[in-house]
Amino acid sequence: MNRFAALLDRMAYEAGRNAKVRLMADYFASTPDPERGWALAALTGALSFANAKPGLVRALIMERADPVLFEMSYDYVGDLSETVALMWPRPEGALAHAPPLSEIVAGLASLPKSALPGALAGWLDGLDETGRWALLKLITGALRVGASARLAKTAVASLGGLAPDDVELVWPGLKPPYPELFAWAEGRGERPETTDPVPFRPVMLAHAIEEADFSQLSPGDFMAEWKWDGIRVQAVAARDAAGALVLRLYSRTGEDISPAFPDLLEALDFEGAIDGELLVVRAGRVEPFNVLQQRLNRKAVTGKMLAEFPAHIRAYDLLAEGGADLREMPFRTRRERLAAFVAAHPSGGRLDLSPLVPFASWAELTAARAAPGAFGAGIDAAAVEGVMMKRADSPYLPGRPKGPWWKWKRDPHTVDAVLMYAQRGHGKRSSFYSDYTFGVWTKGEAGDVLVPVGKAYFGFTDEELKKIDAFVRRFTVNRFGPVREVVHEPDAGLVLEIAFEGLARSARHRSGVAMRFPRVARLRWDKPPREADRLETLEALIR
């Protein structure tokens, strides 16, 4: 447990994706089974350790520490688990046994509830500060691993020459502590047989198209469809060995998101695998992304939520039909079969076909992209993010192969905002002020004031970053830890042209609006802050 805790501790401070993969791979390579397997289960969320409430943790420390010293310490540290982990007294006498993760997992699975406090105290006695911290965070369900399940699988794949998608393919059939997975990854064993009737099929992704790409492409080779502004999902249904229908909904990265969408799964009445967009459809109309957001990242869904935000799949592609794998077939064929498939399985109105966008030339497609409503998207036009261009002869390939599929997003919204605060970045950017909070003008009690509307930390070139950094250092008016307030007055300050994908109302932001995917599009050194945009302009964009 101490070693796993050290990994979690290091990852909590590490911002870089590749560095996290290396840290996990190093841990997996140097840790024996089954320890590393249980660790992988914890990292991928395949295992829940959340067996205790904070009250139990507090009671344990109160039996062991001076209450005044505990309160002073808690006040200083500000986090219960961390305070307890740090001030837990060393047991008298010989060193206690340091419990391996497997022992803790076994204990949590088998111990009666009444035995938990004693067992937990015993484990804490045997662990070091970091070990105690990680255990208390795990057991109170408050651990933020700082890595996605996908990243952990990538680390396993990197142990040998596997691709992350190889691991993804066998994953659904595996159970912790995954000895056969590690054996395979390290070249010591066969590829594990997947027995899961509804496996995830790695998703095919598109490259963003650039102006220059068009001259290389022939319109006749491509088919186009709308790119809907929801979340990309894969819905899979098949019969298990006993003949029962198993349904599963996967995210783009292969995470099982079925529990959040019981309404949708219940309605699906097909056997096959569909690639599509998850949307909220009310009264026959696709709702914007911020409505769908109400359904995302929720552990529990209430009946009210199900009724208010009904989930729907708009199908793009058919990967399997019955037991047949269609991925090797050309897109044109898959599309034809998809159209028939969706027609045969309406799934209570929860499933429909994403229509093709007919075009004969790039000019026609340009026109459709600019006005989706007039080219077939109808009342759903506002939920169109752009168009997808897919080669008619393209097989369904995992990953992001360059050439067969292109995405061509609608032009983003832009706003001129004023830089207000800057924060230092991490890793390569740790000596640069690279995270920017920007604001727009609104009416204050004594005239116009700037109100922060968002934060951006990319979109600029390295050269631009250097210039903004120099500006921040030169025009700092206040410092708050790693954050600097920079000058932002009507005639002094830096205007940033911010591009963003959409706007939603937000009670959490002082301005009342939240931007989707904001980034710095241009630096407007030429523009005085007084000419930056106003909050009213943004509010008008909210539908």
């Binding site: 909590a12 200083y76 390569k428 740790s430």
Partner: protein
Amino acid sequence: MRPEDLLCPSPQGLYCPAGDFHIDPVRAVPRAVITHAHSDHARAGHGQVLATRETLDIMALRLGAGFAGTTQALALGARIEVGGVAVSLHPAGHVLGSAQVRLDWRGLTIVASGDYKDAADPTCAPLAVQRCHVFVSEATFGLPVFRHPDPDAEAAKLVASVRLFPERTHIVGAYSLGKAQRMMALIRRAGHAGPIYIHGALEAVTGYYQARGADFGDIRPVKGTDRKAFPGAVVIAPPHAMTDLWARRFADPVACLASGWMRVRARARQRGVELPLVISDHADWDGLTATIRATGCEEVWVTHGAEDALVHWAHTRQLRARPLHMVGYGEEEEEDGTSSGEAEG
């Protein structure tokens, strides 16, 4: 006779009325005894200064040769009489030359410990606990959440990270006097054989440690070194330099900070640290309480840090204890780990 006749707090710092001198005064005074050369304890402009040879030498390096009217070196363990008070200096284990000041007068013994630690440190003499009636203690890490781990294990974390990320530069923030040199010794002991590059602010003091016999292996200045040498290297710099423009020369650096404050995650995150190293030149909670007990003192005076918790602890042990509310100390640790401002340049 009261202890306060021998030693009492004053606006300038601790004052000995019987001998008419101050200990670590924060303002210029006629006569001062200095426990160690950190800037919050060792200031320029005093008339006469009494300290260890090493402390006087390092003060001269950092403050200039004319930092005091006259200086007098006192060997560790030796005694001199000052106005009827027997003054002696004893190792404090904090940094090279650091000493506790022991005052014996009419059967009463008071020890002003300055900053101290009971953990082993290859770069300075170990703490020598003095039996006394009154012990004057710091309390920088005076909360039971501060228990410093084995420094060799912390250094091993750094060396393991260097091996795992051979294309990155590990910049270790460490206070320029004491911590930086201790890190050099610890990194060597952890098995890192390559050159250690140091910031210019570390050069003079490091050279002094080496002249006194410390063997840190291959130490090179960052200045004038080709950037191509830095990937895979360890660089030691004062903490503020890590976010300065100075740090730009290192590709994809790993920000490490060696400080007792790194024990608390919020502190480490606030500093943007990627690899916190919990290594301190101050006693941790267990060290403070064990040292106080070992002195056999009847009374504890707490100078600076988390006074309330240590005073509370002393009371639970039936020891008389009071905070002295001294101001002006602890800034070295502030710069070491917690300062929100940064030097630029």
